[in-house]
Amino acid sequence: MEQADSLSSSGHSDLLASVGGAPFVDWPEDLYIPPDALQVFLDAFEGPLDLLLYLIRRQNLDILNIPIAQITRQYITYIDMMSNLQLELAAEYLVMAAVLAEIKSRMLLPRQSEEDNEEDDPRAFLIRKLQEYECIKKASEEIDQLPRMERDLFEIDVDASQIAVNKPLPDVSLKEMLLAFQDVLKRAEQLSHHQIVKEPLSVRERMTSILDSLKDMKSLVFTQLFGRFEGRHGVVVSFLAILELSKEGLIDIIQPEPFDAVHIKLRSAVSIQP
């Protein structure tokens, strides 16, 4: 009770503020607050519950047994002081003042002694909140003390920059490619003037392989392009491929003399010049 009284004690030379006519001198000693940084004072509390807890703890009071009248008086003194100093006060602080005042008034009413239980105790709700908040406050302080990265623990950095890393190549499914091709065909059809001739693929493939074999040879005898083992089907494919290559101007079919062997050669740059 001494501490509580000292709150409103007068006659101190360092008068900080005047609340309701009473001089105000008692800054909380365990909080270092420069008197000219009053905003800091309010910032030091995380809210009305924090302030209440501070008042309770400072006097070694037990949460379950808060002398409501006394705490309310102190709390409201602080609030008054803060508003007198024109600090911007969060609404929550005023709400708490109202809650305290309400509890105080209810405590003054006569109690039904026998049927007393916690729901009837006007303090119960507040106590529960204070307890819960204190719990969390303690936990947050402990979390703050845990060794943590960047402050107490550091990642290690071992050089691996010289290590060769495989760059895997993208995967393609046949279906993906076919769907892409379908799109091309649709677009090509819309550009109607472009007719994509529907050659069988075996012919297109053979066209490629004939060009390939001509690359190293100046010319090939026509019959060399037909393999007996391929049968009639192969002959047809090769024949169509040669005709198509000729039509596209990629090869020349040459017969130097009548009844001589027919030769196939890549169309040379010279031959198309006039």
Partner: protein
């Protein structure tokens, strides 16, 4: 090559914690070692480094090599940037989410008794310490927040259960408890706590509570 040696190299080269499963998946599908073998290699490595300036530590998302806390004041001098500081408001919000998850912003405000600034929630989400786990099916469908593995990793924890235990709340029913005898028993149980935990201020106070009741109720 010795499995332990490969695991050691992987854990050193990786820039984040790796689980046994992730380590396993580094190996080609048909050559993957058993999880048990990897686990035992990891445990041998933990022993190997027990007395060095670095340690192999299990955190929520796996194992990582880190510089031990006792040398951190020296290591801190390596970096010009000071480690980030977190406000009380942020730490309290984080604690509520950690211990009471899943919680809505309203729940947090209820417990703290003040509004929670959007910046705090944003910072927690950006650091990936907290995520939205669901939405509560009440009007407005507020987000329900929970903590992440990154939160545990950052605070050097392997699981939520490694968080400091929450102080037990003193029993509210004591307020109206008519039977003084029961109270005695309770307070004796309470009394054993402070010995286990010499700095446990809270539980000593709980004892006081019970004795203090007489004057309050009587």
């Amino acid at each position: 090559m010795e499995l332990k040696r490969i695991i050691e190299a992987l854990l050193f080269a990786s820039n984040k914690a790796m689980s046994v499963k992730q380590l396993q998946q580094i190996f080609p599908e048909l050559e993957q070692p058993e999880a048990d073998d990897i686990q035992s290699a990891v445990e041998q490595l933990i022993d190997d480094y027990a007395h060095r300036a670095i340690e192999l530590k299990k955190v929520a998302s796996g194992y990582r090599f880190q510089v031990k806390a006792d040398v951190s004041p020296w290591v801190g001098r390596l970096f010009e940037e000071k480690p980030p500081k977190y406000s009380r408001a942020l730490l309290e919000t984080l604690a509520i989410i950690a211990y009471r998850q899943p919680v809505t912003r309203g729940d947090i405000e209820d417990i703290r008794g003040v509004a929670v600034s959007s910046n705090i929630i944003k910072t927690l989400l950006e650091r990936e310490w907290v995520r939205v786990v669901a939405h509560k099916e009440i009007p407005g469908r507020p987000a329900l927040f929970g903590t992440t593995k990154q939160f545990l990793d950052y605070f050097n924890l392997a699981a939520l259960s490694e968080l400091p235990t929450l102080q037990e709340m003193a029993d509210l029913s004591a307020l109206a408890e008519p039977d003084q005898h029961v109270l005695q028993v309770n307070s004796e149980q309470q009394e054993t706590n402070p010995q286990q935990n010499p700095n446990n201020e809270e539980s000593t106070e709980a004892v006081e509570t019970k004795t203090g009741l007489e004057s309050a109720v009587g």
